[in-house]
């Protein structure tokens, strides 16, 4: 690491743009996304399928190329060092050592042919140049830390010997074995049962504090965000539409999409004893984006002209960023409620 890493943020993403070739032409899946994550913080990127949140996470460490994607613009600086444009070999030393990963489906990330102990030890040996014996000891230690009972024994088991929740723990042990400074977790609890999810989140929070890690956590679930995040980035149709510290975001969502997502949660309806409010229509396809604000066809507050013509810029508002020209006006509840909601469910793709 250079001396710059002392002051530089742990992760600084600027204007990141990722494109994929398709039969319909080149599509932009991540559109000038910027955010900063400091050490020891948890940043959640929340969005629905197709928002670009997962591609954002994968592209940070060069994992979109194998899927046909390309970073066409922007910068990703990890502890002050640029990652975009680095050779695969040099990225390999960063991945797994300084940056750990957890994915949604642990079974596809673990090799079924090796014991879990071997897989963790292998990573430790490669990145930490540890001896066979030390690497194995580290594997057992990590399995113990993520709460696998009789870890020394279980280290000799193969992935299929573990339940879904246990496999995700093994994945966490694997991701954290080299004491990474940054953990990227892409929907790590989505495939788990809720009771197992609750426990996995507790474990991640504990390990994050103990290891002073920065965590970039990708999720579609605002409930999970409320549980784990310090800061939140909301993505819609490849763009950041809102960014704010977690309490501000939930107390006063500034973008109608964020507010809509919150109101669409069954828990919100039950907590407030109100009917569930859906967001009408569907997420636009990346090759058929609406003009103006990309959310305007689904937004109850969209105004012709102002919201429908020119692209809307992300701008500073209070302690966050928002991509909505009407954000200030909509704070006045009388103005916000005066408008009728669009007709539900008739929007074609």
């Amino acid at each position: 690491m250079t001396t710059a890493s002392k002051q530089a943020p742990l992760l600084q993403v600027e204007d990141l743009t990722v494109q994929f070739p398709t039969p319909d032409g080149l599509i932009t899946v991540v559109d000038r996304v910027s955010f900063t994550l400091d050490a020891n913080r948890v940043l959640c990127i929340v969005g629905e399928s197709g928002s670009g949140k997962s591609v954002t996470a994968l592209s940070l460490v060069g994992l979109v190329q194998s899927r046909g994607g390309r970073i066409s613009a922007g910068s990703v600086r990890f502890a002050g060092e640029e990652l975009v444009g680095r050779a695969e070999k040099s990225l390999n030393t960063v991945r797994g050592r300084d940056i750990g990963f957890i994915f949604q489906e642990p079974m596809s990330s673990l090799n079924p042919a090796f014991t879990v102990g071997d897989q963790i030890a292998e990573v430790v040996r490669r990145h930490r140049k540890a001896s066979r014996r030390h690497a194995w000891a580290r594997a057992v230690e990590m399995l113990d830390r993520v709460g696998i009972a009789s870890a020394a024994q279980r280290a000799k088991d193969y992935p299929h010997h573990f339940s879904g929740g246990m496999r995700q723990r093994v994945m966490i042990a694997l991701a954290l074995a080299c004491d990474p400074k940054l953990l990227i977790a892409d929907e790590p609890t989505t495939a788990l049962d809720v009771t197992i999810q609750a426990r996995t989140l507790e474990l991640l929070k504990t390990l994050q504090r103990e290891q002073d890690m920065g965590v970039l956590f990708i999720t579609h679930d605002l409930g999970v965000v409320a549980d784990i995040a310090d800061d939140v980035v909301v993505m819609y149709a490849s763009q950041v539409v809102e960014q704010a510290p977690v309490r501000e975001l939930f107390r006063r969502p500034q973008h109608p999409y964020t507010a809509g997502l919150l109101a669409a949660m069954p828990q919100s309806a039950l907590e407030n004893n109100t009917p569930l409010v859906g967001i009408p229509g569907v997420v636009p396809q990346p090759h058929r984006l609406p003009s103006g604000c990309r959310f305007h066809p689904r937004c109850a507050h969209a105004q012709p002209g102002r919201c429908t013509t020119d692209p809307i810029q992300l701008r500073l508002l209070d302690r966050g960023l928002v991509r909505c020209v009407r954000a200030e006006e909509l704070r006045d509840p009388s103005a916000a409620q005066a408008e009728p909601a669009p007709i539900e469910g008739v929007t074609a793709q």
Binding site: S163, V194, I196, A198, E202, H220, A226, F250, G278, Q349
Partner: protein, 350 residues
């Protein structure tokens, strides 16, 4: 509308249902083990549980899409379990299913119009024009444009496909629809649309619904009553509001507290039951109460005897020894125990 039936007789009655799968080497897996419940006409019963609870198998067995090993299922006056496979055919008109995955439950080679027309062709003697009118009506019900009849499933989003699947299930005006995780694969914004759509359909039809889901909050919204399953058995039943607000079984309380509240301050300070351990294998369920290996209140009796269903204040039943042993709740909620001294294993809460 539905055929004539006594409103006092439940539309669906399930008695002591058992479904066992032979998993080789003489081993048997009890996916569903002694489950009984009923659904009234026009009522929605939510069946909630995590993976491996047997909730989906229960739904399949009700429709005879999985073969019950023992027990009885009645749809109105018809005993579903007694019918031979040929006799089941007229029953298919009366009971329908909506699956979780709208991508695999629609035929990609048929237009939406054809898929909606198919059940009408098979089960009714309606003319082509009459069928066409019914298809249009069904699309209206699920708030999709009538123009969509000539399109194929791949032209639709997940939420739209689920609307089509619901239209197909409702088109014969069935007496019972089993919804097996109908919103689990959908995004939040779409999920809320489908939940609201189902609420609207419930109001307008006399159809009974068995709504199977893992999400207690969704079940609470769409179901008048809720039944909670764990490892093949019902652990708690009752009016949804009571089950949700005053759970009488520790598993229900844990399930509830595992759903994050979308409010950072409250979510991070509330008392929660975070369960330890994993769900045991259904091949070797624990003795006595099946939940005892993960229960923070487990007592000695829990390993010795299976708990009977105990009547709960505010309606329903819970199968838990806490009502008769230890704190002797006698039908009260387990929630106050979180703060009490009845914990036998430490509670993770923050």
């Amino acid at each position: 509308m539905t055929t004539t039936s006594e409103s006092r007789v439940p539309k669906l009655r399930v008695e002591d249902l058992e479904v066992t799968f032979d998993v080789g080497r003489g081993r048997k897996l009890h996916a569903v083990d002694g489950v009984s419940f009923h659904v009234d006409e026009g009522e929605t019963l939510g069946l909630v549980g995590e993976s491996g609870s047997g909730k989906s198998t229960t739904g399949m067995a009700v429709l005879r899409l999985a073969e019950p090993t023992s027990g009885r299922v009645y749809l109105g006056d018809t005993e579903v379990t007694g019918l031979r496979s040929r006799q089941l055919r007229p029953l298919r008109k009366r009971m329908q299913i909506v699956f979780q995955d709208p991508y695999s439950s629609l035929d990609p080679s048929m237009t939406i119009g054809q898929q909606l027309d198919e059940p009408l062709k098979v089960h009714t003697s309606l003319s082509k024009a009459e069928r066409r009118a019914r298809v249009d009506e069904a699309l209206d019900t699920v708030k999709l444009s009538r123009r969509y009849t000539s399109r194929y499933p791949n032209e639709f989003s997940g939420g739209q496909r689920q609307r089509i699947a619901i239209a197909r299930a409702m088109i014969l005006d069935p007496e019972l629809v089993v919804c097996d995780e109908p919103v689990s694969a959908l995004d939040v914004s779409t999920q809320s649309q489908i939940v609201n759509l189902l609420l609207g359909i419930q109001e307008q039809s006399r159809t009974s619904f068995l709504f199977i889901a893992h999400d207690l909050a969704v079940v609470r919204l769409v179901s008048a009553r809720t039944a909670v399953m764990y490892l093949g058995q019902l652990v708690e039943t009752g009016p949804s509001a009571r089950v949700y607000d005053a759970p009488a079984h520790p598993y229900t309380a844990a399930l509830n507290s595992a759903i994050p509240i979308p409010d950072p301050d409250r979510q991070r300070t509330r008392d929660r039951i975070v369960l330890g351990g994993d769900q045991p294998s259904p091949l070797t369920p624990p003795s006595g109460c099946r939940f005892r290996t993960r229960c923070p209140f487990a007592m000695e009796v829990c390993a010795e005897e299976a708990p009977p269903q105990y009547p709960i204040d505010g309606g329903g039943y819970a199968a838990c020894h806490l009502h008769t042993h230890g704190p002797q709740l006698r039908g009260a909620s387990v929630l106050p125990l979180i703060h009490g001294d009845h914990l036998t294993t430490p509670l993770v809460s923050r």
